[in-house]
């Protein structure tokens, strides 16, 4: 199979992917076709590849391998997972090499200049929420990694397709029939995964946002939606746990996080279903808009 190269810009980051695998090529043709492209002379931040693994295993149980400039951070995965492998691998590269930012495991979306952080704590339903908000017209900066600039305290966009798993895939497809999805990647350790394309607007308007709200979502079936203010000290501790490079940045990371928490309103938000979740989050913005 012929190797093809795909290049794209995600916010300030430029990526070049080389792959000979048809599933990965199809994935990229669909997902990345509208992304801005770096020019011939632009600096490429990450040169990665996803290719089949050679060796006798190729015939028995074919596998794919992700490589970042020849370095392979992971053990190979079954060949059906190759498109997801590319997405995870690229996340790894960004999380390990972007220390001009404090990198937080969180979705970050924006509407009317208001930025909302939705950290990806277990049981949060962050990705489903993020996907639904984006379908409603919120701008996507990221569904996985909020890049908090050490220099100016703004969060910088690095839009990538929203990854959804298992039932969430159907939920969002039902919620927003016009949303464009990749093929389903089956049987990963996280279950079935599919990627939702990034809307045009999020790609075109890739500007940083001042974070205004930090909302920890908690999906609780059969409950009443409830928004409770969260003590900043507690918010700090929870968010620090979700910051990939907090300790690499040391004092810089601590200060960046403290400044962020100073600035944002912090909440816990528990919700029983998508509709009430969206209602609750939109209300937060309206409230801010009034003040």
């Amino acid at each position: 199979m012929k190797t093809r190269e795909f290049t794209f810009k995600s916010g300030n980051l430029s990526v070049s992917l080389q792959t000979s695998m048809p599933t990965v090529q199809q994935h990229c043709e669909l997902i990345y076709k509208n992304f801005p492209k770096p020019s011939e002379t632009d600096f490429i931040d990450f040169h990665v590849s996803v290719n089949p693994v050679s060796g006798y295993r190729r015939w028995l149980k074919p596998q794919a391998q992700f490589s970042f400039d020849g370095y392979e951070p992971f053990a190979p995965l079954p060949i059906q997972q190759a498109p997801a492998f590319f997405e995870w691998g690229l996340n790894w590269c960004i999380a390990n090499n972007s220390h001009q930012y404090l990198i937080i495991h969180s979705a970050i979306v924006e509407k009317n200049g208001v930025g909302i952080l939705l950290p990806g704590t277990p049981g949060s339903g962050k990705s489903t929420l993020c996907a639904a908000l984006v379908c409603q017209g919120w701008r996507l900066l990221s569904d996985e990694m909020a890049l908090l600039s050490l220099a100016d305290g703004l969060i910088y966009p690095a839009p990538r397709p929203v990854s959804l798993k298992n039932q969430s895939i159907q939920v969002i497809k039902a919620f927003s029939p016009e949303a464009v999805f990749s093929d389903i990647v089956p049987d990963t350790t996280k279950g079935d995964i599919a990627y939702m394309c990034v809307p045009e607007d999020s790609l075109q308007r890739a500007i940083p946002v001042k974070p205004a709200f930090l909302v920890f979502p908690h999906y609780r079936a059969e409950s009443e939606p409830e928004l409770t203010p969260l003590a900043k000290s507690r918010a700090f501790m929870s968010l620090a746990e979700n910051a990939f490079n907090f300790n690499i940045l040391g004092a810089l990371g601590f200060n960046a996080m403290a400044n962020l928490i100073d600035k944002v309103e912090c909440y816990d938000f528990s919700y029983p279903d998508l509709t009430s979740a969206l209602k609750g989050i939109n209300e937060i913005v309206t409230k801010y808009g009034k003040e």
Binding site: A231, S233, R234, F236, A240, N247, G250, A251, F254, N255
Partner: protein, 78 residues
């Protein structure tokens, strides 16, 4: 050992960049930690504690000793 502090109302976060340990303390205890590190005189610390908790000096000494022992365990003091 440098510790970084940040407080919001009655709670503080304390970070030791060398050990990469992050702690959540009451702001009062964080303030005491900071004073202990600056080698504040013991009588001053005991007065602070007895005023805050409205207890006698003797009890304040025990509170201080327990606190120091905790801090040593947590690696906040050495």
């Amino acid at each position: 050992m440098t510790l970084l502090f940040h407080s919001w109302n009655d709670e503080s976060v304390v970070y030791n960049a060398s050990s990469a340990d992050l702690h959540l303390l009451s702001s009062f205890n964080a303030e005491l930690l900071s004073l202990i590190k600056k080698e504040a005189p013991q009588p001053m610390l005991m007065t602070k504690i007895s005023d805050y908790y409205q207890i006698a000096e003797m009890e304040a000494k025990k509170v201080l000793d327990d606190l120091i022992s905790e801090y040593l365990k947590l690696g906040l003091l050495d």
